[in-house]
């Protein structure tokens, strides 16, 4: 056990799985970097933000493949390789670039098993960065996990911390279905204690980072940190929250969400993806349908506005949910009185 960054945790998961299973290969743009460069060095970058650094040096050109800037072909190649015996982990750099290769994910990888009558296995992981907060503007900041969650056949992971990232990535690599693994780019330097040995965290099992009596907060990815921060502040005022990190949006641990809402009677959902047809609306629908009687107040969603992600810092701050907005949403559901009770 030692302190590791989100970046290191992911690197370690990749390294340990590559050591364990020779079928695990990596591909992506500049995941080594330096190929064909005049300095003659390879592993110059280790990915655009250094996440895969050292893996080329350790595993070599037979296992780690730098790709041309050709997402449709290399993501498709990862799908094809997965269906025929390898276990590729392909890096898409920014998840926004899925626009260039969605067919291979949506119409190929996701559907093989079902269309082929259960005869195919596509043990593929696609890693990509998501999220706002980097001034990376509209084409490099989206939180597209709902897009993938919408597609039957894909599993979707949104880790909230270094510990979670390592365990969930190992699970993703060992899983026999195509998995989309999304890393919030603002979190790469976040640190926490992470075991040195390999471990896996099962999909579809939510983690409760706080347990409380008054309000259930369901938060995704980086938003879990903000929810915890808000819960800490609210605790001081005697409002106690349960914070649920679902870990995976597909499969989704609906049982845990429903149980917690049954206990607290109030629900706030925090999701940094665009607000229409996102995880917040999905969870809200689940609870409205299956735990209606438990609700003491309307469900509140803390989400961005229905706009692309703006560039300027002032606008991006307004765009993103934060602890303060979660806190006020929690206070508002606590303050809510049903009209009938008033009368």
């Amino acid at each position: 056990m030692s302190k590791k960054s989100f970046r290191q945790a992911i690197n370690e998961a990749l390294r340990q799985e590559m050591q364990r299973d020779p079928r695990v290969i990596l591909m992506g743009e500049d995941i080594a970097g330096g190929q064909g460069g005049s300095a003659g060095v390879v592993d110059a970058w280790g990915g655009v933000l250094g996440v895969t650094k050292g893996l080329y040096t350790e595993f070599g050109a037979e296992r780690v493949f730098d790709t041309p800037i050709s997402e449709a072909s290399y993501i498709g190649a990862a799908v094809g390789a997965a269906a025929t015996g390898l276990r590729p982990v392909a890096e898409l750099m920014f998840v926004d670039f899925v626009g260039c290769c969605l067919d291979q994910i949506m119409n190929q990888a996701a559907k093989f098993r079902y269309m082929f009558g259960g005869k195919a296995r596509t043990p593929l992981v696609i890693r990509a960065m998501y999220g706002a907060g980097f001034n990376a503007a509209a084409q490099h900041s989206q939180a597209l996990y709902p897009l993938f969650t919408h597609i039957p056949g894909l599993k979707v992971v949104v880790p909230s911390s270094p510990y979670e990232a390592k365990g969930l990535l190992i699970e993703a690599i060992r899983d026999d279905d195509p998995v989309i693994f999304l890393e919030n780019k603002v979190m790469y330097d976040d640190e926490e204690e992470v075991p040195d040995e390999p471990y896996s965290i099962p999909f579809g099992e939510a983690n409760l980072t706080r347990e409380g009596d008054d309000v259930t907060i369901v938060a995704f990815g980086r938003m879990v940190n903000f929810a915890n921060e808000a819960a800490d502040r609210l605790e001081k005022d005697g409002i106690s929250c349960t914070v649920i990190d679902p870990r995976t949006t597909s499969p989704l641990d609906s049982a845990t969400i429903l149980e917690c809402v049954e206990d607290t009677g109030r629900l706030v959902i925090v999701d940094e993806s665009s607000p229409r047809c996102n995880m917040a609306t999905d969870v809200a629908a689940l609870v409205a349908e299956q735990a209606f009687d438990a609700l003491k107040a309307p469900i509140r969603q803390v989400v961005p506005p229905h706009t692309p992600v703006p560039f300027a810092t002032v606008l991006e701050k307004l765009y993103l949910p934060d602890a303060a907005r979660i806190e006020s949403a929690v206070r508002s559901v606590m303050a809510y009185k049903k009209a009938k009770q008033d009368a």
């Binding site: 064909g36 110059a44 041309p68 800037i69 926004d96 503007a137 084409q139 706009t307 560039f311 300027a312």
Partner: protein, 321 residues
């Protein structure tokens, strides 16, 4: 090709403006005041300027993530650009796009682009507009050696030929896509790729304004005359990292220094006009001074400009909703 005096002066000014704009950004970025990703065009100025010298506001260009040079060459003002890069309300995109999304459609500048290979298909569409609307315009896609490997680029070469569009595909080949060399990432040659689609191919030294101007003139004339699309392959080098903050460990020691010493397009321009007695150096010195002031003023204005307001967040998602 004989180049008119005023075009020479204007082109030199454009190249100098790009150089100073970028060099200044390099310095300002290091102070931490500039948010987001910034990709500098230093060393490549003659390409944007040599091509755009043949274009008017009726013509359309699509740019890349490394777009400042194309914007300046197409006539976008540096004050609005600088303010945009600083995320100010006075920026050309009101601070909502930043460095990678500077655009001004009124000048035929269809935008820098955060998506590699995003431009070529758009340029097929712009060329289609020019063709259908019969406005005499051509559409030019700037794209890198790295972008030449995107399916979107290759499909666009084909589509443009099939539809015989007035499109010009300018492949700016600086030898790298991020940290990966073109010698690794590009199979075959750009020339053979063009030939594969039956597309005329021109190439030139992208650090020599006169060479670019000559080749681009022929390429653009071909497209403008209605003879279909062309590829212009421009050989050049970038002087800074892929983006600001890139230590460039993948480039040999001295590679950039040699480029700067031997292939500086501004220096080459000066030498050429003196040797051929085309221009008086003092005219160029005057331009240098005036550009320096202009950039200084743009930075000052950007730093003092107002930030976007909360209401801007929800504005302009749609025309109507």
């Amino acid at each position: 090709m004989q180049i008119a005096h005023d075009i020479l002066l204007r082109s030199y000014r454009s190249m100098r403006t790009i150089r100073d704009f970028e060099e200044r950004l390099h310095v300002e970025f290091a102070t931490g005041e500039i948010p987001g990703f910034v990709h500098l065009y230093c060393g490549e100025e003659a390409s944007a300027v040599g091509v755009c010298a043949h274009l008017s506001d009726t013509d359309t260009i699509a740019s890349t993530h490394r777009g400042h040079g194309h914007c300046i060459a197409k006539g976008v003002g540096v004050e609005g650009m600088m303010a945009e890069i600083y995320g100010r309300k006075t920026g050309v995109c009101h601070g909502k796009g930043g460095s990678m999304h500077i655009a001004d459609l009124s000048l035929g500048m269809l935008g820098a682009n955060g998506i590699v290979g995003g431009g070529p298909p758009l340029i097929c569409g712009a060329a289609l507009s020019h063709k259908v609307l019969k406005d005499g315009g051509v559409a030019v896609a700037f794209y890198g050696d790295g972008a030449s490997n995107e399916g979107t680029t290759l499909e666009s070469l084909n589509l443009a030929m099939v539809w015989q569009l007035p499109a010009v595909f300018v492949c700016e080949d600086n030898g790298y896509g991020e940290a990966t060399g073109a010698s690794y990432a590009c199979a075959g040659t750009q020339k053979a790729r063009a030939a594969g689609f039956g597309m005329p191919y021109f190439d030139c030294d992208g650090t020599d304004f006169f060479a670019v101007h000559e080749a681009a003139g022929q390429a653009i004339a071909h497209a403008r005359a209605g003879h279909g699309p062309v590829m212009l392959h421009v050989h050049l080098a970038r002087w800074y990292g892929h983006f600001e903050g890139d230590a460039m460990t993948y480039r040999a020691n001295g590679e950039v220094a040699r480029e700067r010493a031997e292939r500086d397009c501004l220096q080459k321009f000066r030498t050429h006009v003196t040797e051929t007695s085309l221009l008086d150096l003092s005219a160029l010195d005057d331009i240098d001074t005036s550009v320096k002031d202009e950039i200084e003023a743009a930075v000052k204005a950007a730093k003092n400009a107002p930030l976007p307001e909360p209401a801007d967040l929800q504005a302009d998602v749609y025309v109507s909703y």
